[in-house]
């Protein structure tokens, strides 16, 4: 299969205000695809449109060959589309382990719950240490780990992450990025929105550069990294 997730000419926005003016992406299986762009370019709106939390005005979302454009978010999650949102949205009054178990809530993920839990603890030993702790007592980086872990518990086909490194101490950010790399090696398809352009380009296979709700540049990350166009997409000149 060539493309596991495809977004075709999506237009959407909030209320009266249109944010996306025709975004098209093709995500290849087992690859790490990143979406970068200045604030307001539409990166978060794109992920939320794919997930279904923001209604698509025009265009299509196709997962694994199936048109999921009209499906509500939970149905998309059941088909293996997982979003780790900006701001994490953890269950503050639940423990680490309970949060992870909530990740396996859907029918799809329930069977493999025990197995996946072990895998998450292997990937993030820190979470295992703190499994009984309330998630609100974790540090920023640990919460980000937990959010990712919960995402993994959903047995994703495609894991979408909105902002990984934002506000994290370098040591923890490093751990997270290394874990991303290893997940990718294990064959997981990842879509990453990342604030730091250099990180995004270094980490990913393929890059989309958004500006003002459109795809400005796309290509293999190594090639995109050399282009002045990236700077121009952010700074206009």
């Amino acid at each position: 299969m060539d493309t596991i997730l495809e977004i075709k000419s999506i237009e959407s926005g909030y209320g009266e205000v249109q944010v996306l003016w025709g975004i098209s992406l093709q995500v290849k299986p087992g690859k790490l695809t990143t979406i970068i762009g200045a604030n307001g370019a539409g990166k978060t709106t794109t992920l939320r449109s794919v997930m279904g939390s923001v209604r698509t005005w025009k265009g299509k979302v196709v997962l694994n060959g199936e048109d999921i454009t009209r499906l509500p978010p939970h149905s998309r999650a059941n088909r293996g589309l997982v979003l780790v949102p900006e701001g994490r949205q953890l269950f503050a009054d639940m423990s680490v382990e309970e949060n992870l178990e909530m990740g396996a809530y859907s029918r799809r993920a329930r069977k493999g719950q025990k197995h996946n839990l072990d895998r998450v603890y292997d990937t993030f030993p820190r979470l295992k240490e703190r499994r009984k702790q309330l998630s609100s007592t974790l540090s920023g980086g640990e919460q980000q780990m937990l959010a990712m872990g919960r995402g993994l518990m959903q047995e994703p086909l495609v894991l979408m992450i909105d902002e990984l490194s934002l506000g994290l101490a370098p040591v923890l950010a490093q751990q997270l990025f290394l874990s991303l790399k290893s997940l990718r090696k294990q064959g997981l398809t990842i879509v990453l929105v990342e604030q730091n352009v250099h990180l995004a380009l270094a980490l990913s296979d393929y890059t989309y550069v958004l500006a003002e709700g459109r795809v400005e540049i796309e290509g293999k990350s190594r090639e995109v990294a050399g282009m002045d166009g990236v700077r121009r997409a952010y700074l206009g000149l």
Binding site: N39, G40, P170, L235, G236
Partner: protein, 250 residues
């Protein structure tokens, strides 16, 4: 030639957060100064300081030689500084004409009703809303509401116009139209201070650019210079060294 607006050493804290730290810059007559910076940099806060919505902890704002620091917004308008808002504030129950008439009535020249109404109609012609004069402000599209916001500010006959993200939410055609309107405003001798995230537009429109990041002025200069300034690039694209550090062991 003295500057129209002179901002010196302006600082404002909200609790522990330094929203704006020691920012200084000036705007000349007939100039378009663009204000850019990543989200949360303090741009709208700076606008709110200039037009008196917020009071500063430190610093001075001098307009046409007069100290306007900490003066309330309704006084600042009378002195010649008008402003639009990021989230537009139409006077919903009123018609388009009534909205703009309010601007003319209470602006710099404090016109009485009849001349204010005439001024309002003229301004509506300039921004292309004359045919919607009798419609209620509530019924306009987002592009219309933005134009109304600009018209209302223009009706006050300002010498300096503050535009806060006036292009946000507009489609490419509407953006072009608004750019023409802004050029027309500068052409009539009014200076423009504008915040914008639509980078291509602001970089092409502005005579000079000021870049704000985490409340501090990062750079100032011609658009071409600023766009290639390494500090500015880092503010937008992120720290290049982090990438190396984090992926060292990879």
């Amino acid at each position: 030639m003295t500057a129209l607006l002179e901002v010196t050493g302006v600082s404002l804290r909200f609790g522990g957060l330094h929203a704006v730290s020691n920012v200084s810059f000036s705007i000349a007559r007939g100039e378009i100064l663009g204000l850019i910076g990543p989200n949360g940099a303090g741009k709208t806060t700076l606008f709110n300081i200039v037009n008196g919505v917020y009071k500063v902890d430190k610093g001075k704002i001098v307009f046409e030689g007069k100290d306007i620091t900490n003066r309330p917004p309704n006084e600042v308008v009378h002195l010649g500084v008008a402003r639009t808002h990021q989230i537009v504030k139409p006077l919903n129950g009123m018609t388009v004409l009534e909205n703009v008439t309010v601007g003319a009535c209470f602006g710099r020249d404090y016109l009485s009703l009849k001349p204010a109404r005439q001024e309002a109609m003229e301004v509506l012609e300039r921004v292309g809303l004359a045919d919607r004069a009798e419609t209620s402000a509530r019924s306009l599209t987002i592009a219309g509401k933005k134009r109304l916001e600009v018209a209302r500010a223009l009706a006050a006959r300002p010498k300096l116009l503050l535009l806060d993200e006036v292009l946000a939410g507009l489609n490419p055609t509407e953006i072009d139209q608004m750019i023409q309107i802004i050029r027309g405003i500068r052409g009539s001798g009014i200076s423009v201070f504008m915040i914008e995230h639509v980078m291509q537009a602001i970089m092409n429109l502005s005579d000079r650019i000021v870049v704000l990041s985490f409340g501090q002025k990062l750079a100032e200069g011609l658009p071409e210079e600023v766009a290639r300034d390494p500090q500015v690039i880092e503010a937008y694209l992120g720290d290049p060294d982090i990438a190396d550090k984090l992926l060292e062991n990879a």
